[in-house]
Chain length 150, copies 2
């Protein structure tokens, strides 16, 4: 019925989050990083990660520089980007807005059997993604409070 992970986020989103957090951390050290470095350091498929970074570049979350000595950086004012914005670009917002049982119409007025029980979970998730910025996570990494590889 299932092969591995019906996870919270899609693979695109997982790679995207890992990538921006890594790039953010490197940016705090004034390092510009290439696609090759990113995919090695976050252990993700390179060409696929390129596509994800293209999306994030188009949406002005990361900045890309072409040519020799090029790579990816996150500009200082973009370090305040919330995780929710990254997720929104890559997975949309159905994690917050969608019905847990997949009903098209499901709200407080005509709720599915799980609607009210999902409210707290969804709010927790939203708050978590809105209260964590690339800057704060990069700081956690720099303080060795977290790792991205493995």
């Amino acid at each position: 019925m299932y092969t591995d992970n019906p996870s919270m986020f899609s693979k695109s989103c997982e790679y995207g989050l890992r990538a921006v957090i890594f790039i953010a951390q490197q940016t705090t050290k004034n390092n510009k990083v290439s696609l090759t470095t990113v995919s090695e350091e976050i252990d993700s498929p390179q060409a696929f990660t390129a596509k994800v970074l293209q999306q994030l570049t188009k949406n002005n979350i990361v900045k890309s520089i072409k040519g020799p000595y090029g790579g990816f950086v996150i500009e200082d004012h973009k370090m305040d980007t919330k995780l929710s914005e990254v997720v929104s670009v890559l997975d949309g917002d159905s994690i917050y807005t969608g019905c847990g049982l997949g009903l098209k119409q499901c709200d407080a007025k005509s709720p599915c059997p799980l609607h009210n029980k999902f409210v707290a979970i969804r709010n927790d998730l939203r708050n978590m993604l809105e209260n964590n910025s690339l800057r704060s996570l990069a700081a956690d990494m720099n303080a060795d409070l977290a790792i991205l590889k493995r």
Copy 2:
């Protein structure tokens, strides 16, 4: 990048949850329900729903009766089945156990940047699925506190 819903559960699991809740509610009214009825009432693809119900039958969550006047029921002692058991059969338990960023190894000792922030959300989700049984949800439906269609 995405077409519709990176939802909490797979489609199989959404249909499965809707189906067992519906069957549970009908069981409280002493109704045995056919696949056709189930898929009509929960608005799901019939043949696909059949496969999902087969899984749940194999795992002894629903009881199926073949032949004329056959259909699906949930035996009384199975009405205390927790949603977590249904989810476990259809999607596995990676929603609880897996890393939010998709890392293979991620735990309190070497946490990804989101690990600790995910703990609360995951626990909420687990508690919700463990504290709701088919019996309690069927009761909600009978009390018109919830609907499954649309």
